[in-house]
């Protein structure tokens, strides 16, 4: 590839990452995006033994709610076996499963809410990301005792193992304008949804703006298509060589870690493909020889 490959950070928050990628083909960018969803393993509760439960929520509902609680997986990724190596593992295998326990009881006059923070964890590296997620609301004289087993898993198996809530890419929107040629109708249409853009346009009179902010440009596109067609003063187009990627984590892994893991997963798959091809070539070569 002759184009220069570049990555520029646009926004970084604890659970969110936005960056600009340049010089990468669309299929590769999309593969990374999809690998973020399906091929990055994280911890989630997969097996629940309920000893006692007379709360209003059925065992299955509580198990389901427990499974959806994000668990910290940063260290677990190094410690625990990958899902493909745990297919045969039983729940006592400490290399596959992390154990969490929940024991709550209310007295005759007592009421309480059970939080994710009440989960007692045996491995301090695998604990709920948020401590204030309500699991169940208890009335007096109720009991809940259970033991839960968490393991690494892939998003393609169940959504509870998806490390991201958003992984998306889009083309970079580019606006070209000349304030003297813009029609009144066009400008007021844009001003309704993007007042800051109109301000910029009026200030710099003529030029080109790349919209790298985290905003939706569909209304702008609508204006450009319907209200700005009769003049040359305003144009919106998308640069299909550069992408803005957005990764939003559920909290179990940092967004950066997710992207790196996703890239690793793709590299592994590509290497696997090459070795398999090699094998086929060798085999067919032997037949011919």
């Amino acid at each position: 590839m002759t184009e220069k490959r570049k990555i520029r950070l646009l926004e970084k928050a604890p659970n969110k990452l936005r960056f600009l990628v340049e010089g990468f083909p669309l299929p590769l960018v999309n593969a990374i995006r999809r690998a973020c969803f399906t091929d990055v393993p994280i911890m989630a509760i997969d097996y629940v033994e309920v000893f006692e439960n007379n709360t209003v929520l059925y065992d299955e509902i509580i198990a389901h709610r427990l499974a959806l609680i994000p668990l910290t997986s940063e260290e677990a990724l190094k410690k625990y076996k990958r899902p493909e190596n745990c297919r045969e593992g039983d729940i006592g295998d400490t290399n596959c499963y992390a154990v969490l326990r929940l024991e709550v009881e209310t007295g005759p006059m007592e009421e309480r809410i059970v939080y994710s923070g009440d989960l007692e964890t045996f491995d301090p590296d695998v604990r709920p990301v948020y401590d204030n997620i309500p699991i169940v609301v208890m009335a007096p004289d109720q009991r809940l005792r259970l033991q839960a087993y968490a393991r690494l898993g892939y998003g393609k198996e169940h959504a509870k193992w998806m490390p991201v809530s958003v992984a998306a890419h889009k083309y970079v929107p580019i606006v070209e304008f000349d304030v003297n040629k813009i029609g009144e109708e066009c400008l007021s249409c844009i001003e309704m949804s993007y007042p800051w853009l109109v301000e910029k346009i009026k200030k710099s009179k003529q030029g080109r703006i790349e919209i790298l902010e985290d905003i939706n440009t569909s209304a702008l596109y609508w204006c450009a298509q319907r209200k700005c067609t009769n003049n040359e003063g305003f144009k919106l187009h998308y640069d299909d060589k550069r992408f803005i990627m957005t990764i939003e984590s559920t909290g179990s892994l940092s967004p950066k870690h997710i992207v790196l893991e996703a890239v690793n997963a793709i590299v592994k798959k590509a290497e696997n493909l090459l070795t398999q091809l090699d094998k086929i070539r060798k085999e067919s070569g032997e037949v011919r020889g």
Binding site: E52, N53, N54, T55, V56, L57, R65, L68, I69, P70, V129, Y130, N132, I133, P134, V136, V137, M138, A139, D141, Q142, R143, A159, M162, V164, S165, V166, E248, T250, G251
Partner: protein, 66 residues
């Protein structure tokens, strides 16, 4: 029934915001402002908190016999 742990549309964990959201709205704040403060931008997540009815507070008395 009880606040969903995640947004059923996009998968963002939401339940951790519920008590703050409920408290502030009960105190008379505008839900729109509270949601903005929490940082929920997508309307799938916003509607999940906004439209939730915590009926578990009424039904929790009907305990099951062990």
């Amino acid at each position: 029934m009880i606040i969903p742990i995640r947004c059923m549309t996009c998968g963002t964990p939401l339940a951790q915001y519920w008590e703050e959201f409920q408290r502030r709205v009960k105190q008379g704040e505008d839900p729109e402002k509270v949601l903005d403060d929490i940082g929920l931008k997508r309307y799938c997540c916003r509607k999940t908190l906004l439209a939730h009815v915590p009926s578990i507070y009424e039904v929790r008395w009907f305990r099951r016999v062990l």
